[in-house]
Amino acid sequence: MPSSIPVVSQARIEALVVDYHRVVLRRRRQSFVVLAILAALVLLAAQFGEVDLRNLVDNISNFTSYFGRIMPKLSVAHFSADVADWYWNITGWLKLLLDTILIAYLAALIGATGAFMVAPLAAANLAPSVALRFGIKRIFEFCRTVPDLVFALMFVASFGLGPFAGILAIAIHTFGTLGKLFTEALENIDMKPVEGVRSTGSRFVETVRFGALPQVMSTFASYTLLRFEINVRSGSVVGMVGAGGIGQDLFVAIRKFYYTDVSAILLMIIVCVAVIDLVTERIRNHLSGQEIRR
């Protein structure tokens, strides 16, 4: 019985094999070139970055023993006394932690409000003026590229030590990132409602309010929550330059080698960040569920 599978001639097979080898060879050559470029970049970067592997190998024991040293001395016999000793400044640190969370909250609020008001002017499908749109986009870029700690340093110099400098610095950074994200969300909306509202002769504000915002509000809220989460992390470091929050105490503890304090504060930050992550993740899932229902 003849097979229904067509027989491929020997010549054709040979041609295919040759082709296959050629393709494989070309891909190998490509990968080789990419790897060579990568290796050259690594060597160049290692030169600039003063990479010194011997130094690392010699001192890596410092790193591992560091974790040994920051571990609290806890014993089963007098466990509660040891914990009390470890967290000797628990009320002070809790207050600073609350400071950090409030800094993150106010920064997220200010940044999100600002971005919310400006983003429609920067979205390509809604913007009334091209020049204004271009200008706002550059401002967003500036706000998110200059690191928040640089802003914090500037604001500490002008507003004095304290949380206000931290709030303002993180708020500006939040404004830049959320501005970009909000603009992108607005650019991806369904334009039919917008056209509908426009056809009734609405002005810019009404078009945005009734045509665009109902589509993106839950996305905006979700992004803002995500940003709040990130702000808690940044809020824990702006203290290093004197801009409020728990970073100040952590900085002092690391610099002055108060080993067990380091682990106590780090543990508090890690737990706090984990709890906030969990809570906001739940709210965000809830929000995206709402979006699907619509």
Partner: protein, 285 residues
């Protein structure tokens, strides 16, 4: 097809009457919205009160901030252009090498943390918690620790970025592995391949372009983080920047900031092109 009709005012009133439930907001949802915004406002007021923010401080600060901004112009190198260029080079090196080392470590770890490739659920849980812990400590804190280990300089910055991004990239990679299509692996297994072969030929081709895109994005974002790591002495332009702010050389601050902006814009452009090339190749395959 009927012609569009003009709705007369009395018709509109009749429609409103007939379907008033659609137009009236439910009193309960209105009350809930009101309570929500009240709680929001109350929390904000509490935050302002707790952090002890005063208007006189803000006004005073604004006037000195205006003075500083006026001092920024014209930007000047202060005669240290070579120093600044070297510091910028260090910053780029920190971002590049830090991300690369993080990738090398995160790649194998992510297979342990992905539910479809992990040897055991307990391993996955443990690895995930480790990654979360590493991630919740900011790169700046890692930098402080590494300055203590290898001394001042960019090497400490590289190690700090490498460690903190191992956490972030490990999580992202494992998510990419989890969302990959299982059919590729199944067909390799059906063809008699071992588990390892199925990962190499069924899974990797799918996830590599995603991972490459994420690594490029992280190099980009690490150029931004590496600019501040110098504040704690871990190399890069942050050291110069913080010194200049502390000594009130605001014209030099402005110059350094412009350098950062230009460099980040160039890196964005390059990595955007590369990412497009990688994703384009995937779309063709």
């Amino acid at each position: 097809m009927s012609l569009p009709r003009v709705i007369r005012p009395e018709d509109a009133a009749a429609v409103l009457e007939r379907h008033h439930t659609l137009f009236d907001e439910e009193p309960r949802s209105r009350a809930r919205a009101f309570m929500g915004s009240f709680a929001f406002l109350a929390f904000t007021v509490f935050a302002v009160w707790w952090l002890d923010i005063s208007f006189s401080q803000i006004l005073l600060g604004l006037s000195s901030l205006a003075k500083f901004v006026a001092l920024m112009f014209p930007p000047s190198t202060g005669g240290h252009l070579d120093l600044l260029m070297k510091a910028m080079g260090e910053t780029l090196a920190i971002a590049f090498l830090g991300t690369l080392i993080a990738t090398v470590f995160a790649f194998p770890i992510s297979f342990l943390a992905a539910s479809n490739t992990t040897p055991h659920g307990a391993v996955r849980f443990f690895v995930r918690r480790c990654l979360d812990t590493i991630r919740s400590v900011d790169a700046l804190i890692w930098a402080l620790v590494f300055v203590g280990v290898v001394g001042l300089g960019p090497f400490a910055g590289i190690l700090a970025i490498a460690v903190s991004d191992t956490g972030a990239l490990g999580k992202l990679f494992s998510e990419a592995i989890e969302t990959a299509d299982e059919r590729g692996r199944e067909s390799v297994l059906a063809g008699g391949g071992t588990g390892l072969l199925s990962v190499r030929f069924g899974l990797l081709p799918q996830v590599l372009p995603i991972i490459a895109g994420q690594v490029l994005y992280y190099i980009e974002s690490n150029v931004r983080s590496a600019t501040i790591i110098g504040i704690v002495g871990a190399g890069g332009i942050g050291l110069q920047l913080s010194e200049q702010i502390r000594t009130y050389d605001f014209d030099q601050v402005a110059f350094a900031v412009i350098m950062i902006l230009v460099t980040v814009a160039i890196i964005d452009w390059i990595s955007g092109k590369l990412r497009f090339a990688i994703i384009g190749r995937r779309a063709m395959a």
